[in-house]
């Protein structure tokens, strides 16, 4: 049977000609450029513009092929829309000229000499092959039956990675290094590692050349590698796609999401809504600034840019128009790209009002928390900004938002390097920080010790000081408060004792992280000891300094194997993921007697959810070993040894589920600066019966 022909639309024909093109009044919704029968529908809004012109280019050509002013009758409210017929959607680029006052004191910076990028552009051309311009996206894609995975938030093990840097190094061995497609080839590595969520550093189109500095030694221009300077919020980064020259970056990124989902791995995007790439009054006019500056940016009463982001401007997130824009954008990524969640850069700014003051009930954060399209998306706040608003533990959360737990990071770092007076705080951090998130369960806290911003794990145990000279700012940039310890020598060393100690310290940190309640996040490469040579602010290096060095996978295979096992161990023990905090009892050298005194560097917790799920974690940050009395495990079980970071590999971690029994059930020796993890397993009633259980 042949399907009946679809009824043809009666409005799929032009009504007049403008600029040599057949057009008709467009549809205001959806915003952006949308292929429709016979042509492309363009829709753009500005409440303060007085007129608008659509500018069309043949792809890659310097001069426009046509300029189409919007007639008055094509304007509804502040929305300009027009359907242009007989356009080859793939072969064109477009932009807008917005007309209106140039009156900076009142916030207006209209400049029709600039062709503006469409804020809703779903595709941007690759700036390495021509001008960076808005393009029309073909949005059909063969998703098969893919959907967001909806993994329980508290079961996530997040892996923070840079979509380009992960495979850009020639050592990656992938067919298309530094691309979404290259990342697909590394999915088996992620699966073996055991993570079930990747958090991608910004992949919205940004300007990688936005850096005025050059390398102080080589003189080469530095870049903006991290990408926290968005140019187009609806467009996946073109240069991260091996097929960007075909304009297929959207397809390639969708395929990445689909393949990750097939492997059971969720995708969280790091999104940057606190500022844009347009800087302040000295920055370029790319899009918002020329379209409706007074709406999109937080401005002082005399029209200057507030700078809560530390980058020149601040997006006016709680203006109703901008709020709508952010919501449109996130809905688009959730529905069109099947994204599982978002991490919001400098999210405290999203809680500020148009004049910069923190709001008690920020409409944007509330909208995102209750939006039906985003209902199952993880929402993660970096709960501070660059102007001193620090909201870790107090971010407006609507029982929905979770937070990067900066206190977790600082406390674990201080404990492991041997600071005194932090054992008590470590106990609080290891059970989901109930002092901050007590009523909300363990998914409220994203526990991390390292992230892209700061030292790598290897550098945290190899450097006391930051070494940022290569960033071109005389080592002034980057955080000075790193809570790091070099283990006795600054930087690389051949001293086997120091090397061994660093290896142990790295395992100590990873083990504490993976044995803490709350959602752990691992910085990509830390599982194999990646170094940035002491640079703790490597945002500007698109080079081997920041790229994942795949030779480390072999060189540090022991540490990788340790992390793989620790992740599997975590996944085998719900008590480590879901709590409750009340299931944990604290111990020390004496059982049931934790030592909370100032000078103590030993802490042991029993995470006890019954005979099938009971784990004992002992952390000793003292330079001497200690013998710890063990609490009695649940009835019918005995202690087995999962991990001992002081033991030589491969005895530092055993196979989860097949841990050897502990000979002495009443005491355990915890070596100098070491972590020991025990697990209760049911006792075989008759040990002589070939080890079979009854």
């Amino acid at each position: 049977m042949t399907a009946r022909p679809a009824i043809e639309r009666i409005d799929a024909y032009p009504t007049r000609s403008i600029g040599g093109f057949s057009v008709r009044a467009g549809r205001p919704l959806p915003f952006g450029a949308t292929p429709v029968p016979g042509g492309v529908n363009f829709s753009v809004y500005s409440n303060n513009a007085t007129a608008m012109t659509l500018v069309l280019y043949r792809a890659g050509e310097p001069e426009p092929m046509a300029e189409l002013p919007f007639p008055d009758s094509y304007v509804i409210g502040g929305v300009y829309s027009m359907t242009v017929f007989d356009l080859d959607a793939e072969g064109i680029e477009y932009g807008y000229r917005a007309y209106g006052p140039f009156d900076p004191e009142r916030g207006h910076r209209f400049d029709p000499s600039v062709v503006l990028a469409d804020p809703y552009a779903r595709l941007m051309s690759d700036a390495s092959t021509g001008p960076r311009r808005s393009r029309v996206a073909l949005d059909d894609f063969d998703w098969e039956d893919d959907s967001p995975l909806r993994l329980p938030h508290e079961d996530l093990v997040i892996y923070e990675l840079h979509a380009r840097g992960f495979t850009k190094s020639p050592t990656s061995g992938v067919s298309a290094p530094g691309t979404y497609a290259g990342l697909i080839e590394k999915i088996p590595y992620l699966r073996e590692l055991g993570v079930n969520c990747v958090e991608l550093l910004p992949i919205f189109e940004f300007d990688e050349n936005d850096n005025p500095r050059s390398h102080p030694v080589t003189g080469e221009p530095l870049s903006n590698y991290w990408g926290y300077n968005t140019v187009a919020y609806f467009a996946p980064k073109a240069s991260y796609a091996s097929t960007g020259r075909y304009g297929m970056q959207a397809d390639e990124f969708k395929n990445l999401v689909k393949q990750l989902h097939k492997a059971g791995i969720e995708v969280i995007l790091d999104v940057v809504f606190n500022h844009t790439a347009e800087g302040n009054e000295h920055g370029p006019t790319i899009s918002f600034k020329g379209l409706d500056n007074a709406t999109y940016y937080m401005l002082t009463p005399d029209g200057h840019y507030y700078n809560f982001s530390g980058t020149g401007n601040t997006l006016n997130c709680n203006n109703p128009v901008v709020r709508g824009f952010v919501l449109d954008c996130l809905r688009y990524w959730a529905s069109e790209y099947h994204i599982d969640g978002f991490r919001f850069d400098l999210a405290a700014i999203l809680g500020r009002g148009p004049d910069g003051s923190p709001l008690w009930n920020p409409p944007l954060l509330e909208s995102l928390a209750y939006d039906p399209v985003l209902r199952d998306c993880k929402l993660i706040a970096e709960a501070w900004d660059a102007a001193g608003l620090y909201q870790v533990g107090s971010f407006p959360n609507y029982c929905r938002w979770s937070e990067w737990n900066g206190r977790y990071r600082d406390t674990v770092r201080r404990f492991v390097k041997g600071d005194t007076g932090v054992a008590g705080d470590l106990a609080t951090r290891m059970v989901g920080s109930p002092d901050m998130y007590g009523r909300r369960g363990t998914s409220a806290t994203i526990n991390f010790v390292l992230c892209h911003d700061g030292f790598t794990l290897n550098d945290l145990v190899s450097y006391n000081e930051k070494h940022n000279y290569a960033n071109g700012e005389d080592n002034r940039d980057g955080d000075n408060n790193n809570q790091s310890w070099n283990c006795g020598h600054e930087g690389p060393t051949g001293d086997p004792e120091i090397i061994a100690l660093r290896g142990r310290q790295m395992r100590n940190i990873l083990m504490i992280l993976l044995a803490s309640q709350g959602v752990p996040m691992i910085l990509a490469g830390d599982e194999v000891g990646r170094t940035q040579q002491g640079n703790n602010n490597a945002y500007c290096h698109d080079s081997p300094l920041t790229w994942f060095d795949w030779d480390l996978v072999e060189r540090n295979a022991d540490q990788l194997r340790f992390v793989q096992k620790a992740i599997r161990f975590r996944q085998a023990h719900p008590v480590l993921r879901r709590g409750p905090a009340s299931a944990v009892s604290w111990h020390g050298v004496r059982q049931w007697t934790a030592d909370w005194s100032e000078g103590c560097r030993v802490l042991a917790g029993m995470f006890d959810a019954g005979a099938d799920d009971c784990v004992y974690v002992a952390a000793n940050a003292h330079w001497e070993g200690h013998s710890l009395e063990l609490p009695t495990p649940p009835a019918g079980t005995a202690w087995h040894l999962f991990a001992d970071t002081s033991a030589p590999s491969p005895l530092d971690a055993h196979e989860p589920g097949a841990e050897p029994p502990l000979q002495n059930q009443s005491r355990v020796e915890v070596g100098p600066r070491s972590v020991v993890v025990l697990v209760a397993h049911r006792v075989q009633v008759d040990q002589r019966d070939n080890g079979k259980e009854e």
Binding site: E90, D140, D142, E144, A181, T243, Y246, G247, M248, D251
Partner: protein
Amino acid sequence: MAFKVRMQIEGSTATIRLEGELDGRSAPELNELVVRAADQRVERLVLLLEELSYMSSAGIRSLVFAHQKMPEEAEILLVGTQPDVAETIRLTGFDRSIVMRETLEA
């Protein structure tokens, strides 16, 4: 270069020979032939691409269109795909259930 497309159906195999540029303007022509082939319930769709100079994103989408129109078990064979087009098809995941070969006999 002008786009030309011809189809021959022999037994259970439909063979479509493409010439010129396959893009958003020409893809509907190909899609029409694919629908006809599907209506004839062929088991094998062979696309001869040696003389195709360019295939755009819309052209690549025709392959998915073909996959969706043809019966589940039907084979879709691309012959003589330009290397960079073949690579693009693979990297964007459009190669699902599509076989690419250099020659028909290979």
